[in-house]
Amino acid sequence: MATSPSDLAVIGAGPAGLAAAVTAAGLGLRVTLLDAGERPGGQYYRHPAPGLGAARPEALHHGWAAFAAREAALRAHEAAGRITYLPFHHVWTVVPEGQGATADRAAPTWTLHAVAGPDEAPTIVRARAVLLATGAYERQLPFPGWTLPGVVGAGGAQAMLKSGLVLPGRRAVVAGSGPLLLAVAGSLAAAGARVPAVVEAAAYTGYAAHAPALLRNPGKLAEGATYGSALLRHGVRLLTRHAVTEAHGTDRVEAVTVARLDRDWRPLPGTARRIPCDAVAVGHGLVPQLELATGLGCATRPSPDATVALELDARQRTSVPGIWSAGETGGIGGAQLALAEGEIAAHSIAGRPVPARLVRSRTRLRAFAAAMAGAHRPGPGWTGWLREDTDVCRCEEVPASRIREAVEDLGARDARTVKLLTRAGMGWCQGRMCGPAVAALAGTGPAPDRRPLSCPVPLRHLAGLPADAPSELPPGLPPELPPELP
């Protein structure tokens, strides 16, 4: 395809990407916006398909007006030909064009390879600048019974409710750690589920150490109070410093064991009790989704919540010239921060001065995010919930015993070696679900996402790539290929 490159390709139409795309188009750039989803909004502003005829999609959202305004701007820019919006396009790699051949050029043109639609048709987009707004996915810490049907991600339950108007069950325990739990419990209860308890592993007193950051964010406190009062109204109990340490059931979840935790997240003996339920929505905060960025060589930094985020400068630039990023990729911080960062990046890419109000709000919201991240960082004692036969890797069904054996008997000292010895993290999801747990069991810190491809790609598309790209294909077959292939 020899179409002329866009000024900017934005990957992800969540709060950051959407805000960036419409701002950049407003500043005169020609923008291509690619998104894996069918509708703009990302995970945060997920909403029912038009066919579901929802009259009040905002009932499931906080800050819907901010989205509605940007969606309207997107449609206007699209109609005027300033934005090419490509929904249902999953970008799986980004490569500099003519790598090597045009080394004289300071800023290369980028080629984005995507698969489009359910048929996974190969698509190529070229652009002079790229903004990565790939967001985050949920962090999961395994526990006995977490693979039972009815145990679902807290964000997953929220996503399915927002887009499909469905509930995983009628009586749902919400568990894990992080402010998302309150929002999820509020939505599930408002949609008619009974929520016997929100089980939060952290102590909210952890916030007290960060009083200044909290006080400079009255909006965020009000948001918390909204969730809190919604929970009260629905009679939901909030148990802090507690965890679901086991889910019970045969074909599906029927109850959970909840125990009180010490400050390291070790269950306290004698505190376990059972709560009957037919669904568990569980999650321990979010993990920045970085594989496109790390594939490009963008520098990363550790976050206070024990995840790894991109190293970004004041203008949202990554360490790779020509590549910008905004939103959760730079550290988990929520939708408001993502909107501000997207707009900052757009100004920066357009070569304009960044409005001071955006810089101020980013500083303020980042401080709040850091306070929250520190408060909900998983304590080391959580690995005590695992039994020897608990599957840690859901895809490859690798139990904790095999991972411990790799570490203790075979001397694996990092997650990568554990992976090679046990296949944990080598399945379809490429370690998105088990990565943090495997790293903890290996006794190492979290590593940034490194996956050669950000989604499974049909072999025929890989075969069509030039020999020098992507640069990091593993030896042998990528594990995400259908397992029956030789």
Binding site: A54, A55, R56, P149, G153, G155, G156, A191, G427, W428
Partner: protein, 111 residues
């Protein structure tokens, strides 16, 4: 909440109001499930109270949707004979036949 919901359990639909433009039935194994335009296959199955629609390769244990956003691949299902489709992402379409997926979904090709 509203008058419509008094006296019975609220539902997600009560919360957002409105009515679906179209309802039809989706074939899942030998059952017909009510489906609405715009729902993913996983949403149709959850609506019918079905939480598991595949069994794992190693231990043949049941699984369904977990992450709900296309990252975990736990919701793999066979749609119109095509295995390994993520039910949480694939929109349900009239005429679709969804079948429980066992193992790799390629049992017929196993050597």
């Amino acid at each position: 909440m509203s008058e419509a919901t008094r006296g019975r359990r609220r539902s997600p639909r009560d919360l957002v109001g409105g009515t679906p433009t179209e309802t039809w039935s989706l074939r899942f194994d030998d059952r017909e499930l009510p489906a609405q335009t715009g729902q993913s296959i996983a949403a149709v199955l959850w609506s019918a109270g079905i939480l598991a629609w595949r069994t794992t390769r190693e231990t043949a244990t049941p699984r369904g949707a977990f992450c709900g956003i296309g990252s975990c691949y736990d919701c793999l299902v066979t749609v119109n004979g095509r295995p390994n489709q993520r039910a949480c992402l694939v929109p349900a379409r009239p005429g679709d036949h969804v079948t429980t997926q066992e193992g790799t979904g390629h049992g017929d090709l196993a050597v």
